[in-house]
Symmetry: C2
Subunit: 400 residues, 2 copies
């Protein structure tokens, strides 16, 4: 299953100078599996982050939000346990990880960002995690190993990299992510880390991150369940050329958006049980917000997603999802396409529509659903996958 | 599968005087299946209705909303085709059904309420439907046949009945409903019809209906997809005793709420692929609205629903769903129970909690999830089901 692209080529994942990676097998949930990643950042690195809006956010998320006010020297990520829904005890365990890593790495506990992913509401096995830290710090790992060390139900590691030229020289952007949705089924989570060696003022980095996330991770969904641990981090080590003027910052932002978009799409392609990668595009709306609401209403409907799975053009379900988005639409203006096939015209079935054409489009592993609202100029895109037997299987069997 | 109660006993489904039922096999989608129901009301009957809030509501819903301003003499229901997403052509076909029935039944087209259920965005086979009307009008059917004639993916007919004594005599309340998927009634339901022979002023009937719906159909969800055709109709024929004073109206409202609640729960019990019937209760909230938001967030989460299916107490998923409801909660106050098992206490795992206890509760075909917000006195209840392989199977195969 899954609609994955070919696996990352390690040689194409450029190292980012000013950032060192180390992975270890700490036995957090299972033995003999990479489950711990430490990233160390050169002094002077700028770091920005965005986090889940779930009110039950995990202990490490609470610590990250606080520590991002400081300089950041190290990130530590474990898989196998989310340390969410763990109350005050979870906070203590996450802080313990930060202080142990700080003393080993020679920085302050407040300069460490912790991340956890895995099952919710189980105690973090902090002794095993801490015991693995020296091994992680001693290792010199590559980005592919790092991507592997943060996987949960992912079937492939997710890593992308690019190099671009700005006015001051060549800069690298490399990133990794894990997750099977903006939702972590099984209550793992979506984690994303993108790093560049460019030198970027911290004041510019957070805005850049927010814009990039709106174009990448905030446009994907597998099952609509926002995880407790979602985190996306952008680090600029400053070990490479400096990006200060508007043009260089814009070029860099495009490169970061490119890597982030590939990571976000890779998560959907590896969506739990996914057999189809579907782009949902809503056009000619009055506002981006209404286009996005409608795109998500389509992308979250279990009935639409099971029809995708069956390659069944039971496309009235898409009209029903559009009608459910809470947008005060004039449905008589809505057109609906599957790829180039005009299915519904002005709110009703297109008289020239033949199901065979839609079936042919939907049988492909990738296709686009386009809804035209015909009342404005705004648009939004969401990437999603279908809903298959394997989604139920994976989520009914995970953990047990 | 399904968590159905025993099938209705035809003898327990009391006729409602002033209302005549007739079913027919019109071959709308399949041959040799009851798919057409006509209900005729005595002159002077009062009728009230609530309908879907889906913007892509079906042609018959638009006509019902208009015709409810008039006296109503007949209702006509077909299964096999929803006549939704069919634009102006769908309106013409639905109006044709009304005028044909009116001329056969001796009333005005504006006194007919039409209802359709089935596949969306396919043309209503109006000739076959109209050809079946004389057969339906000639038939003298009982409530069980009527319940069967409106089924789609339902595995059992849904009908309940009660008799109560009011100050003026004994009155009957009998109702039917259908629905198993695309179930997230929003101010209405899939299709539900409840009738009483009591005489009730029309001005009282609509308020009674709205309150009843808020306690019944608006508290159930199967998959969160609000349908295009949801309709719930309450008819009071007036052929029996008169309910005019406050006490009689209150007694009658309770009887109607009882029948409606049973119908609504019957829909969840027969939810597509359902193996568990789950009551989600959110208590001690600040407002009914926040309790309801959280209850629905739990009841709609695919991860929670697949965990129900697996009887897997991966209950961090429920905390995550609570955190996703868009309510600015203090999560540190939240307690979570499965039946009598205290799983999470003050936002974290209850130290005394043992998974075996939760597994034992979740293995039962019916159990209750209780979330205590501990910040007020409001509460809300939602009834839902689990998410199984069969939900995917039914919806991937339906229609094809």
């Amino acid at each position: 299953m899954a609609v994955n692209l070919p696996p990352p080529d390690p040689a194409a994942l450029h190292p980012v100078s000013g950032l060192e990676l180390g992975v270890a097998m700490a036995g957090i949930k299972k033995a003999n599996r990479r489950d711990l990643l430490v990233m160390r950042l050169a002094p002077g690195s700028a770091v920005a982050g965005v986090f889940t809006r779930n009110r039950f956010c995990a202990a490490p998320v609470l610590i990250c939000r606080k520590n991002l006010r400081n300089t950041v020297r190290a990130l530590v990520v474990n898989t196998g346990n989310a340390n969410a829904g763990t109350g005050g005890d979870g906070m203590k365990r996450a802080l313990r990880v930060c202080s142990e890593l700080a003393s080993l790495a020679g920085c302050k506990p407040g300069e460490v960002l912790p991340f956890s992913t895995g099952v919710i509401m189980e105690p973090l096995p902090v002794e095993r995690l801490v015991a693995g830290l020296p091994q992680a710090l001693a290792a010199q790992s590559d980005w592919l190993s790092a991507a592997e060390a943060i996987m949960t139900t992912d079937t492939v590691p997710k890593a992308f990299s690019t190099r671009i030229r700005i006015s001051t020289g060549e800069v690298t952007v490399t990133g990794i992510a894990k997750g099977a949705g903006m939702i972590r089924p099984n209550m793992a989570t979506m984690l994303g880390f993108v790093a560049t060696d460019a030198s970027v003022p911290k004041k510019d980095l957070q805005g850049m991150l927010s814009r990039v996330v709106d174009r990448s991770f905030n446009c994907v969904t597998v099952d609509g369940d926002t995880s407790t641990n979602d985190s996306f981090i952008l680090a600029a080590t400053g070990a490479g050329p400096s990006a200060r003027n508007r043009k260089d910052l814009a070029l860099l932002e495009e490169a970061i958006a490119g890597v982030s978009g590939q990571l976000a799409q890779a998560i959907v392609r590896d969506g739990e049980g996914a057999t189809k990668f579907v782009t949902v595009r809503v056009e000619r709306g009055r506002s981006d917000a209404e286009c996005r609401s409608i795109a998500y209403s389509i992308a979250h409907s279990p009935l639409v997603k099971t029809a995708f799975f069956a390659s069944d053009p039971n496309l009235g379900r898409i009209l029903a999802a559009i009608g459910n988005a809470g947008v005060a639409l004039d449905t008589g203006k809505v057109d609906l396409y599957i790829d180039e096939v005009l299915v519904a015209k002005r709110g009703g079935r297109n008289p020239a529509y033949r199901e065979e054409a839609a079936i042919a489009a939907m049988k492909k592993p990738e296709f686009t659903v386009r809804a035209l609202l015909n009342r404005g100029k705004a648009e939004a895109t969401v990437w999603t996958c279908d809903f298959s037997f394997d989604y139920v299987k994976i989520n009914a069997e995970y953990r047990t």
